[in-house]
């Protein structure tokens, strides 16, 4: 019965693992729903501010903001990398980091240096190994990230861009496509890609209060902040979706394993019984 006993303890341990993975799956499912709701809630602001900026591009103010001007020479590139704080989310962070590593290698080949802002524990750990100049970092934003917690890290990069310490800013995060798909995304934030021109019916400009440079500066800063916030919120949703899928797979695998082991256990048990019986019969015949 030694074999059967071992199998039984193994089944027990797998069952307890399955309980954990199943619980994590359910937790992620509910967290993903609220993360999706936050994603939806953040959308109106992003849409409105994009509208205002495209209006501005049409209104053609005399003042040209540095965020809108492409630089002729690039020396340094800034990366804002959004990741999750915790693992056990399948290949979510790994896929993103792989893309970043590829992009970074390309930039390095072109003679560019990298400045990095890391958001989330996994990104901080990754860049510790990968190398790169991490100029700012933040982590433990939790499941309800707030813009207030991001302002500092974003400002570091915006200041660097204003002072021409970086010439391009890229935002890296996992875009939430749907529950099954999260797309690692590298998006250029600065200089802002030119807004698509909608046919203008008549020429006009805003009244500015207090002045167009100040308003525009605030507007564009808020725009970049909202982009990063959106990225963080999407990343949270992606994290939970990825974890949900990973944990579901783990629970299913554990189920299969248990089935197999159960079969092996039954066989071993039956074999032991048969053996014992034949021994008894053999013994009786001998007497």
């Amino acid at each position: 019965m030694a074999g059967a006993k071992e199998i039984r303890t193994q089944i027990k341990s797998i069952k307890s693992t399955q309980k954990i993975t199943r619980a994590m799956e359910m937790v992620s499912t509910s967290k993903m729903r609220s993360a999706q709701a936050r994603m939806q809630a953040a959308r109106p602001y992003a849409e409105k501010i994009r509208q205002v900026i495209s209006h501005l591009a049409l209104a053609n103010p005399e003042y040209k903001h540095p965020f809108l001007q492409p630089r002729t020479t690039e020396r340094r590139v800034g990366y804002i990398v959004v990741s999750s704080d915790r693992g056990l989310a399948g290949g979510l962070n790994t896929n993103l980091f792989r893309q970043i590593a590829a992009a970074a290698a390309k930039d390095r080949q072109a003679g560019l240096e990298l400045d990095i802002v890391a958001i989330g524990n996994k990104a901080i750990q990754f860049f510790k190994r990968f190398g790169g100049n991490v100029v700012a970092q933040t982590s433990h934003l939790g499941d309800t990230p707030h813009l207030t917690d991001l302002i500092g890290t974003i400002k570091v990069m915006l200041d660097a861009y204003r002072e021409e310490r970086i010439d391009r800013l890229v935002l890296c995060y996992n875009r939430f496509v749907n529950t099954m798909t999260q797309a690692p995304t590298l998006e250029q934030v600065l200089p802002l890609p030119a807004a698509q021109v909608i046919d203008r019916k008549h020429s006009w400009d805003y009244l500015y209060e207090p002045s167009s440079p100040e308003v525009l500066d605030q507007l564009l800063t808020r725009y970049v902040e909202s982009l990063v916030y959106q990225a963080v919120v999407e990343n949270v949703a992606s994290e939970h979706a990825a974890r949900m899928v990973a944990m579901k797979a783990a629970s299913d695998n554990a189920g299969n394993l248990i089935d197999e082991l159960q079969l092996a256990y039954n066989k071993a048990r039956q074999a032991a019984i048969t053996k014992e019986l034949s021994e008894i019969v053999g013994g009786a015949a001998a007497v």
Binding site: A42, Y45, V52, H146, L147, T148, I151
Partner: protein, 141 residues
Amino acid sequence: MAMTMQLDIVSAETSLFSGKVEFIAARATGGEIGILPRHTPLLAQLQPGEIRVKVEGGEEQFFYVSGGILEVQPDGVTVLADTAVRAKDLDEAAAQAAKQRAEEALKNRSSDLDYAKAQAELAAAVAQLRAIQNLRKALGR
């Protein structure tokens, strides 16, 4: 019937108001501004304070914003509200904090920053209080 315009008040984290209004009053950097339908296009910075809105039908509503941008377009008004009080010193402090985390060397914050923070918080609290008072008055009537 009075003329109305579309008003949307949104912050980065959520949408606060969306509907038809007759009149809007807000605190811009240059002082209080009032907006009626058919206002000329305007882009104004807002100060921490309340936004007074007369919704369709004449009822008044108050919203507290801690700064932001107000945009007037021929087809409507948009308020892009900040989620928190933004003072330059405070932003600077946040940026410094993020840098420090990266450097993993937490220095003591200077008392100047604490003072700026306290001042900004006080301004926000006063504005919030005023908004609440107005709200009470409006409800009392």
